[in-house]
């Protein structure tokens, strides 16, 4: 997190005010900012804007500016409303673009065909290597959690949650964190092997 990520329209003073509004403690404010950034990036991405950094920056610019003008009691709710407005404007702009060009981006176009089979094989090799690097507990968790599909999956997750003495939701996030670690490891492995 740095001031550079917030757009050029925000002064250092406004940015500091935004951080102080997130949390008076500088360290905790940085964590809160990063958490908020992740949530907003997900929000924009799931709204159909894969390159969401610009929209995030725009949201934070507006929030920082408004903070210097008015008293905000619930900063989270305030930023949510700003983000929804930013998304609305982006959708409007995109519709205009689509009507000008006469085409929209299709999911299928996102898949390049070239060397796909080789890359897939490489991903498999990397995944096996990355699995070996996990400690036994994490490896068994991820392999057990993601092994089943459909009805079998539900039963397995309930049983696992009971074994761990936790809720299925907590277990899901816990398994996902290990999976995310694996995914990062595979991405790194593939970039090195490239």
């Amino acid at each position: 997190m740095s001031r550079d990520r917030v757009g050029s329209g925000v002064t250092a003073e406004r940015f500091d005010r935004l951080m102080a509004a997130l949390d008076p403690d500088r360290g905790r404010a940085a964590q809160a900012y990063e958490s908020l950034r992740q949530r907003l990036l997900t929000f924009f991405r799931l709204s159909g804007f894969p390159e969401a950094h610009d929209l995030f920056d725009k949201t934070m610019d507006i929030a920082a500016r408004r903070l210097s003008e008015i008293q905000i009691d619930n900063l989270g709710a305030f930023i949510t409303v700003i983000a929804q407005n930013v998304r609305f404007e982006a959708m409007r702009d995109r519709k205009r673009m689509v009507s000008l060009t006469g085409q929209s981006e299709r999911a299928e176009e996102l898949f390049p065909d070239r060397q796909e089979a080789e890359r897939q094989e490489q991903a498999f090799d990397c995944l096996n290597r990355c699995l070996e690097r996990l400690d036994v507990g994490q490896r068994s968790l991820v392999l057990e959690y993601y092994k089943y599909a459909k009805a079998e999956k539900i039963a397995s997750h309930q049983k696992m949650a009971a074994t761990f003495g936790t809720t299925p939701g907590t277990l899901r996030v816990r398994a996902y964190r290990v999976k995310q670690k694996l995914e990062d490891c595979v991405r790194h492995c593939m970039s090195v092997d490239k």
Binding site: F43, G48, L110, L141, R172, V173, K179
Partner: protein
């Protein structure tokens, strides 16, 4: 609700509510991206409709290709695990599929009786040989394993007592007694799987039962002839057996004694 949101099945109102919830709560945000990842697994398994596929994949972001490659690779690993489990089922002795369950119980009881008779007879036998015979074949009828072999090695991942799951077997004694001290489970029977960490040796010990020792501990005990194992590190996985089901259990420690 998160699944419906991620597959574009919600009304605008419900969608707005879900968004406000996860924007305000980081734990919900974590859960929604975990659900998204599971849906991607469903996508590569071909479980989503065409519309759902387009909606999900269209929102994956710039790393879409890598994420799908990863999901496919993970699906392949899981497929391998499942096929290992199928093989484990397939290699069950044929008689287990021929005999009915009541008949198996009777056969098992008869086998157990014979073994007990043999144990009593051996105890009365003159001590011409210091070796104690190790029961190689299972004491009771083989149990249909619901859990793949690989799970037995990897699971359980947590123990309430201690963290160690490997044990070093000594090699200077002829008889090694392994005790599994069970703290929080009570099954009619137990199965222990012992594997050399280098993969060179493996044995499943069935028909174990808990008994209380002098210290008041509930212990499942078994013996191994040291000539049958190499010195080195071994891993133990313990399963509780109830009826025809087996559950890998946590909450135990093990210790090795020599004679």
């Amino acid at each position: 609700m998160f699944t419906d949101y991620l597959l574009g099945r919600l009304s605008a109102e419900d969608r707005d509510r879900v968004e406000r919830e996860y924007l305000a709560d980081d734990s919900l945000h974590q859960e929604i991206i975990a659900v998204e990842s599971e849906l991607l697994d469903s996508y590569v398994r071909g479980e989503l409709s065409v519309d759902e596929q387009k909606y999900l994949v269209g929102n994956l972001g710039p790393a879409v290709t890598e994420r799908i490659q990863f999901a496919r690779a993970l699906g392949r690993v899981m497929g391998t695990l499942k096929s290992e489990r199928l093989v484990a089922h397939r290699i069950r002795p044929r008689w287990t599929t021929v005999f009915s369950i009541p008949l198996r119980v009777q056969v098992a009881a008869a086998c157990l009786g014979m073994v007990l008779f043999a144990v009593v007879a051996l105890n009365r036998w003159p001590a011409s040989s210091p070796r104690v015979p190790v029961p190689d074949p299972p004491l009771v009828a083989p149990i249909e394993r619901r859990v793949p072999t690989i799970d037995a090695v990897l699971f359980p991942v947590e123990r309430s007592v201690g963290q160690q799951e490997s044990v070093t077997l000594p090699h200077d004694a002829r008889i090694i007694t392994l005790q599994l001290v069970v703290s929080s489970h009570d099954y009619p029977g137990y199965v222990a799987k012992l594997d050399a960490l280098d993969g060179s040796w493996s044995r499943t010990l069935t028909g174990l039962h808990l008994s209380q020792n002098a210290a008041g501990e509930r212990v499942a005990e078994f013996q191994i002839d040291s000539t049958q194992v190499k010195p080195g590190d071994y891993r133990i996985a313990l399963s509780g057996v109830r009826g025809s089901t087996e559950d890998l259990v946590a909450g135990y420690v093990f210790r090795a004694k020599t004679e």
